[in-house]
């Protein structure tokens, strides 16, 4: 059982997963961001591997990808950064990105290096399920890496079960068919999330896309083990506040520990 799987055994609800693009806002921000998220109460972190053509992402994450690439971020450097914080991180680390840079790096090398750098889960939204099953499933398993598939309100029950069977760690339920950062009202998707609950899936479900405030976070947590926040956090980092202070305020806000309306 890797760290990600353990985390879901220890904590069953209100899990907060925060996404940040590696190398954003500064090339060396990655470690600082990860440590701040750990210190201020995130339950897991998702690190984005920058890609110039992120087709599933909205403007905020696109922009952070471009900034990170301009800063000089790439996979070899990212693995070095991850290794440097590995011993100080107790919460699980997930890598999210697109297939092409991973293929060019060499997928076997990628798995080995990710595992070595303390990563416990991988999300590659453009890797098809049947390709994963046929070619890569064993490889991820061998390296102790969870692989997480996405489902949407349009995904059929048959396919949800397939994604659940192939995923380990958790299942990523996208709150609406949308690119990242597109705000949706979780309550409008009530039926979808209730349906998911009834399916009795083997993996815990985390809800993501468009979650940008306390109310949405808590709504998502009513239907799932927790929620994933990306664009809203990146936006905050983009305002140039110090990473530690900004992260502290952001998480308090999301969790409702501050009386602020934020």
């Amino acid at each position: 059982m890797n760290q990600l799987e353990k985390q879901f055994k220890i904590k069953k609800e209100n899990l907060l997963n925060i996404y940040c693009t590696a190398g954003y806002p500064q090339l060396d921000s990655t470690a600082e961001v990860m440590l701040a998220l750990e210190q201020h109460g995130a339950d897991m972190v998702e690190i984005g591997m920058p890609y110039a053509d992120p087709i599933a992402d909205g403007p905020v994450i696109q922009e952070s990808n471009m900034v990170a690439l301009d800063n000089g971020m790439n996979l070899p450097l990212l693995f070095k950064q991850l290794e440097s914080v590995k011993d100080r991180m107790t919460i699980p680390v997930i890598l999210m990105g697109y297939l092409n840079p991973v293929l060019q790096y060499g997928i076997e090398q990628f798995c080995a290096d990710a595992s070595h750098a303390g990563v416990s889960g991988i999300i590659l939204p453009d890797l098809p399920m049947y390709q994963f099953e046929k070619h890569y499933k064993q490889l991820f398993k061998k390296n102790g890496l969870s692989f997480i598939f996405l489902i949407t309100p349009e995904t059929s029950e048959h396919r949800i079960r397939m994604a659940d069977k192939l995923s380990t760690g958790f299942l990523y339920a996208v709150s609406a068919s949308a690119t990242t950062g597109n705000a949706v009202d979780i309550t409008s998707q009530k039926r979808y999330f209730e349906k998911l609950k009834k399916l009795q899936l083997q993996n815990p479900v985390m809800i993501g896309f468009g979650i940008n405030n306390q109310e949405r976070f808590h709504n998502a947590c009513r239907y799932a083990a927790g929620a994933i926040i990306g664009s809203a956090y990146i936006k905050m980092l983009g305002t140039q506040v110090p990473v530690g202070d900004g992260t502290k305020a952001f998480i308090s806000c999301i969790k409702g520990e501050l009386p602020l309306a934020c």
């Binding site: 092409n100 840079p101 453009d126």
Partner: protein, 403 residues
């Protein structure tokens, strides 16, 4: 014995993908889950719908009466004399809207209607595919949104005006290099955000399965007509050579399609070398590309060692694309198609030459196909077909600076 024969045939068929959309190692559908229902619907239905009699009837009627097909196969006498051979021009420039692109958009709009889609999106580079899409949407009363790189909007102003006059909304793609690749990204994102009522008409033989096969089939009318016309004119349906320019590869796919299994026909694709293969400003994908994934399929693409797509360059917006369709990547790999390239300069010269010798002003994209004539040795009896994919009206602003 019979079974064996079928298997052999399937294995050797280079023009069609397997059931997962692979041409050899290239193709497939590398898409995020958000796109899956729409792409799967197409995968399941495109062959059935396009095979129905009512579909075929409606398509061929529109191709004839609206697009103006069949397009002529013109024996270019002065050019033939110059190269001491027989050169035929397949006049796709005479299609309504001025290029081959409308063969595909008519087909896909009819398909979209049968899928119950009311909103059409498209990407465009030179604007030809955008104009063709806007045109057919106007004809059928469908909402049309075209994504176009901000840079291309500037250099293809007449086509932007045409799209607007036809009632389409043109949305500038402001991300990345602001050209065709980025317009395609934006169209894909729009489709993700509009999962129910929208059909995405991809303009070339790129994208996730089934697009490469679907677009190739709609464009295959080009080689179907060439066969018939050549048979009538010369008594032999096969040319010795077919030459076409390649951006994503749709006019080339159409012009090659029915000759891919006729091994004696030499197929020549011409990519844009831009300012030269070693200049760093080029779009010659097969020469500089490596296997990778872009816009939902595995193919050859120009990229860095880190797997970031590099910015292409070509004087012609329609060839300014860092990839190539998976069909072509496989034809290249298998050695079935010879890939050549022409620089911006060579394409310009070829355009001016064609205008003066045959009275035809070609699109800048098309001019690349003519630019390689000087590099090929033809025999006197050869029958060389060049796919004249489009006319040059849209490129007048560029041509004017060289007059």
């Amino acid at each position: 014995m019979y079974k064996k024969l079928i298997m052999k045939n399937n294995k050797n068929n280079l023009s069609r993908p397997d059931k997962h959309g692979y041409y050899g190692e290239f193709g497939g559908a590398y898409i995020p889950e958000m796109l899956f229902p729409n792409v799967e619907e197409l995968q399941k239905k495109y062959k059935k719908i396009t095979g129905e009699n009512s579909f075929k009837k409606e398509l061929s009627l529109l191709l004839k009466d609206f697009a103006g097909r069949p397009t002529p196969l013109f024996h270019a006498e002065r050019l033939s004399k110059e190269f001491n051979t027989n050169i035929y021009l397949k006049r796709e420039d005479l299609c309504h809207t001025g290029a081959h692109k409308i063969n595909n958009t008519i087909g896909q709009v009819l398909l979209a209607e049968r899928l119950g889609k009311k909103r059409i999106i498209a990407e465009t580079g030179a604007g030809q595919h955008g104009v063709a899409t806007a045109t057919v949407c106007a004809l059928r009363g469908l909402e049309c949104i075209v994504f176009m790189g901000a840079k291309d909007i500037e250099r293809q102003a007449p086509n932007v005006a045409r799209m607007k006059m036809l009632g389409a909304t043109v949305i500038p793609a402001l991300s990345g290099s602001q050209t065709l690749k980025d317009a395609t990204n934006e169209a894909i994102r729009d489709w993700i955000n509009h999962p129910h009522n929208t059909h995405y008409i991809i303009g070339s033989v790129v994208g996730p399965h089934p697009y490469p096969d679907m677009v190739a089939r709609f464009q295959s009318i080009i080689s179907k007509e060439i066969r018939q016309q050549l048979l009538k004119e010369t008594g032999d349906r096969c040319p010795s050579h077919v030459i076409a320019c390649v951006g994503g590869g749709s006019n080339a796919a159409g012009a090659f399609y029915h000759f891919i299994e006729e091994k004696k026909v030499k197929l020549i694709a011409v990519e844009a070398a831009g300012m030269g293969l070693t200049s760093g400003k080029t779009a010659a994908t097969t020469q500089l590309g490596t296997t990778g994934i872009l816009h939902g399929s595995k193919s050859l693409l120009m990229q860095t060692a880190d797997g970031q797509v590099t910015e292409p360059h070509s004087i012609s917006a329609g060839l300014d694309y860092p990839g190539i369709g998976p069909l072509h990547a496989n034809l290249f790999k298998q050695g079935r198609v010879l890939f050549k390239n022409a620089t911006d300069e060579e394409a310009l010269q070829a355009a001016f030459h064609l205008a003066k010798t045959e009275g035809i002003i070609p699109a800048l994209e098309t001019a690349h196909a003519f630019a390689v004539l000087k590099d090929i040795s033809f025999k006197k009896n050869d029958r060389v077909v060049i796919c004249l994919s489009g006319r040059g009206d849209k490129d007048l602003a560029t041509y004017m600076t060289y007059l």
